[in-house]
Structures are given as C-alpha cells and as structure tokens.
Symmetry: C2
Subunit: 358 residues, 2 copies
C-alpha cells in the first residue's frame, strides 16, 4: 500500500439502488480523489454499459466479474457460508489479499460485518470490531461508536473503542488530538456501571493514547463538546436510532407546520430557500459511511438507500483512512493502551463504588 496510489474495491451489487449509484458514486469520487483507482465487483453485463456511459471512468476502474450477490434479507451466517461468489465476498477478499487497500459496500450491514470479520482478522491489539459513524452537532460533527457491532462490551472493549474513535477522527477530520468522551448516565466519576468506570479510569491515566474528556451524557452527543463518543454497541445503536427517529419526527413537525394555515403557506414561499438549507444541514448523506474499526483491513459501509453523492462520500472515507495509514496508527494507539492498562493493574485497583443516574 503506497501513499501515492490507492486501490479501492467496490461492491457493485450492494444497496437499494445498485449498481447505478455505485458507478455514479465512483464517477463523482474519480474527480475528487486523483490517484485512486477502483476494482468494481459484480455482473459485467449490467456494470459495463453504466461504466462506458461515464467518460473518464474506464481508465481508473476495472470491472471484476462476480456471478452472485448478497441480498438485503440474507442472514449474516448464510452470507458467510453461501455467498462466496458474491460481489461483496469477492470485494472483501481483494482487500484481504492486498489487491485493494480498502472495500466499500452499500449492501447488507450484518452480512458485510460477518464476511469482514471472517475474512480479515482482528487488528493486533483489538479484541472486537466497532461500527463507527459521524453524527451532526451544533458545531460540526462527532464520531460515535460502537453503533451495534457488539451488544455486550467489557471495560477493555470500551477503552479500545475510545482509541479507535480517536484515530478515526484524526484520519477523517484532520484533528491532532480529538477529545474523547465515554457515554454514561452522569458526568461524575462515580456514575454508571463497572465497565464504563473502569474504562474511564484507564483512559484518564498519564500515558493514555487518547485525550480523554471524561463522561458525556446522551444530550452531549449533539452539542459537539467532544469529537468522539465511545459506548457499547447496545447503547450506541439505540442512541443512534433514537437520534435518527427524533430528527425524522422533527422534520415532519416542521413540514406539518407549514401546512397549517394560508399564512404559513405564504411564509413557506418566502422561507423556502432557507428551509432547503436546513434540510441540507440535516441531510443524512453528509453522514454516510459507517466504518468497521478494529479489523486488519479497512471496510466502509454506505447506507443501503444512499444515492451517488452519498456513495462518493463513503468512498472518500475509505480513501482518507488508507492515505492516513489508519491501521498503523491504530496499532500504535492500542499498544499504548495495553501499556496503560498494565501500569494501572500493577498499581492498586481504581474501581469506585457503583452509582445511579442523575
């Protein structure tokens, strides 16, 4: 993997609007990321006409035939066992075998995680993978993880997620020392369950690989008080979906508002431009590109319902991670974490008595 040239494997058949959005997304990305080339996996009969229509794409993109595809309904275990000729499987293998630096897919999330975990090993020092993504805040964006790869996490997993999120924010946002918070039910040291308090005790120590802010609460996710929010996959998945649901609910309230009266409808005509900016500000495509961190490989998951712009964004995430040499940086961070934990364990126990929510 050279710094100058990046090769990305694309799952041509994954997602609700594949293969069109995959090819269109690659075409947008082609202009944005010169020096990056693509291996596009899928059915050549469907892919070739789409690629040929986009001038300039053919020279940087090679179609690799795959006769099968993972469906949205495939169970993860089924995908691992029975979809070995699928575009998703073959794209992941290209990354595993070094023919590509990273893989991008808009296909079935569970299948992609299962195939990636099965094919790529865990990165040295990482015990569990985490699904990370960006969420909007009042100041910009925040990285949140784990969004559902692991429903049960111990203190070590949580501390590793904090390190993964920190390196991810460095790679994607160019931050030198991202501020990392652990999600909890209160900000005091005594709050929360044993796992989160133990993880915090490690991250707080001198020599910790992250700039640890401390505990944050659910309402802090959207304020931008930290750059990274780490939590277990159960809490993270519920929080992510609660945020998405609330955003949807509020958007529908706002839409309803402008239908309530003639005055409101006239108001809408004047405010339409500004309201479109509002919609753009909360546009989920800007936050497209969840990443499985902790694997010995870079695997980017685009939303299944994404359009070409969103898919191009996901390609950008993969590109940034590869160019930042994210894996090497993460191994360094995890090594430092291991040293911090060893140092903590050789001194006295740092656990404090349990406490409830605020």
């Amino acid at each position: 993997m050279s710094a100058g040239k990046v090769v990305l494997a694309l799952d041509g058949m994954g997602g609700d609007h594949a293969p069109d959005v995959v090819v269109d997304g690659a075409d947008i990305a082609r202009e944005r990321y010169p020096g990056t080339t693509y291996l596009l996996f899928g059915d050549p009969a469907r892919l070739k006409p789409l690629v040929d229509r986009r001038k300039g794409l053919a020279p940087v993109l090679e179609i690799v035939p795959a006769e099968d595809a993972v469906t949205a309904d495939d169970k993860p275990s089924f995908a691992v066992r029975r979809r070995r000729k699928s575009s998703m499987w073959l794209a992941v293998q290209a990354a595993v075998e070094g023919r590509a630096d990273s893989v991008v897919s808009a296909g079935n999330t569970g299948a992609l995680l299962a195939i990636s975990m099965f094919s790529m090993r865990m990165l040295e020092g990482a015990h569990r993978p985490a699904l990370a993504s960006f969420l909007p805040t009042s100041r910009g964006e925040v990285v949140m993880l784990d969004l559902g790869a692991n429903v049960e996490c111990d203190a070590e997993n949580l501390a590793e997620f904090a390190v993964m999120g920190s390196v991810f924010a460095q790679a994607l946002q160019g931050l030198d020392k991202p501020k990392v918070g652990l999600l909890n039910v209160g900000s005091e040291e005594l709050k929360g369950h044993d796992e989160v308090r133990q993880a915090a005790a490690w991250l707080r120590r001198d020599g910790s690989p992250v700039d640890f802010y401390g505990f944050v609460e659910g309402n802090d996710i959207g304020t931008g008080v930290v750059d990274v929010v780490a939590t277990d996959g159960f809490t993270g998945n519920v929080a992510l979906k609660a945020i998405e649901g609330t955003a949807k609910l509020y958007s529908s309230f706002v839409r309803d508002t402008f239908r309530t009266s003639t005055f409101a409808k006239i108001g809408y005509l004047f405010a339409a431009g500004a309201l479109k900016k509002f919609q753009k500000r909360v546009d989920p495509r800007r936050y497209n590109g969840g990443v499985f961190l902790g694997l010995d490989g870079v695997c980017v998951k685009s939303h299944g319902g994404t359009d070409a712009l969103g898919f191009a964004y996901a390609i950008g995430v993969a590109n940034d991670l590869v160019r930042y040499e994210y894996k090497n940086k993460l191994v360094e961070g995890l090594t430092k974490l291991r040293q911090t934990i060893s140092a903590a364990e050789s001194s006295s126990s740092e656990l404090q008595p349990s406490g409830g929510a605020e």
Copy 2:
C-alpha cells in the same frame, strides 16, 4: 385512600423556581381536579403570602412547616441522612404515613429517589423502582422507562418495568391494553443480550400481564408504534437525553434557518403563528412529570426548571395515578408476571443464542 377524595403532598421548596411555581401550579390544578386537596411543605413565611394571593386556594391547601430544604447539589446519600427536616423529606413521609396519597416534587431527582426508596418500601412483587415519563411521538405520546433509576438490570427487572409501564399507561392515558415494546438493537427474537431476550420470552407467553408487541428499536420510540417502551436505566437515560439533545439541536437549526436571509425573515412573519404551534407541539412541559414506579407509594418528579403549567401537569399525573388505584393494579400485574415466570421456568429454558445488531 378513598376514590372521591385525594390528598397530595407538595414539596414547596423543590425546583429552580420554588416556591412560586409550586403555589401557582397548585392553583391551576385546583380548578382542574375538584375534590383534591393539598399539603404544602416548606417555609410558611414564604409560602403563606403566595397562597393568600390566590383566591380559592386556601380552602383546599394546608401549609405544613418545614425548616430545611434539599438543594440541587445535595448528594442523594446526604439528603437521606441530613435533610430530615426538609420539605422534600416531610412531604414523602406524609405519603408514607397515609396523611397524603401521593407526593409531588420539582426538587433534586437523585435525592427524591433516595428518600422515596428509603422511606417507602418496594411494592409487593417489585424488585427495583423505575423512573417513567412521557415522550412525544408522531401519533401522540409514549411511556418510556427506566430513565435512569437503575444502571444495571436483569431479565426480571426488565419484565417488571414492562408491567409497570403498562399499568402507568392505563392509568394516565385510559388505555385498556397498552402495547408494550422492549428496547433492543433489532426486532428479531435472536437479537440483543441475554437479559432482554429472556424478558421478551416471558412477556410473550400466554397469561403474560402485558400486551407484548415485541422488540422495538431506538427509532420506534418516536413513531408511536407502541404505547410503552421498557429498557434498562442506562440505555433509557442515554436515549432520553439523546432525544432531548436532538430536539434542542433541531429547534436551534430551525431558528437559525429563519435568520439566514431577508426572505426567510419575511417568511417567519407569515409563519410565526404556525411556528408557535410547532413549539407548543414539542413543548417539554407537556411531558412533565416523571414517576418513580414500583415503590409502595406514588412519587411524582416534576422537572426542576418547570413553570406553573408544568407543575400543574405533574400534579395531574399524581392525581390520575391515585384515582386509578395504580398500586393495586400494579400488584395484580406483578403477581401475574410471577406466575408467568414460574410457568416458564417449569418448562424448558427459552433462551436462544446471542446475536448482534442489525
């Protein structure tokens, strides 16, 4: 406790704007709930002038002197040990000793929970109290619990919370058979950790005391697909605060939108009435009145920053619970749950293998 006459103990000194909003709230409630009388605990020198100013309040309200008050910064353990002459402590004791049917406070949440748990026992068949509240949905409201009373919950706690939430929705919303969902990372039976799957297996059985919908995800909280969402206090607290934070973020985005251009400002003038309706629709005061369920007593927590209207709403919650004979109904439900669990345990184990998020 008779069905006709209800006595409510009010913590006159609890909350950011006490005692004014407490007295004003009682005055609003007086008109709404005829037949209900009040014991108002606090400093008579401050309370009496406020009460005298409201015509019609004195005949239904008795001031009970309390020389101390719990502060917002008091640790729960400190409040239990050192605030035995406070308005909060004495108001809770009135409910414990039968002089009042219920207690309402806008004071320190942790202190109120600790004092209530210490003074009231747990209700027969309940192992842990849960903090429950209403949240807005696209169809109306949903009851969610536990919002932070217990950070760690086993399967039995979760199943009990489902029963508590169901009886609460019956009492407050007049629903005959509220639909109850358990919060999880996916809707399939195999998803989630052991605790949530075991609780679901019990609630799904014939003879279960609740109308069990199944698993719901974070985005289902706001859709109104169920009437009750039960979860552990860690996840519930994070989800609640994530929802509140997102609502706030979106409101600020909407406000910003109308400042972006002259056209937008003109649009605002036309749409102002409709936008005020929007603000009202998402008004947190409509969802004021968290309740500690599972205690052998009825304890209603109003938001600390509430105004009189919000406090009157919290009084309404207490009133409804008492009139519905919520405690008797909950004991019935918990007894039925115990029978369901026993029946399940005498048959084979119903646990299924573990699964990750969607």
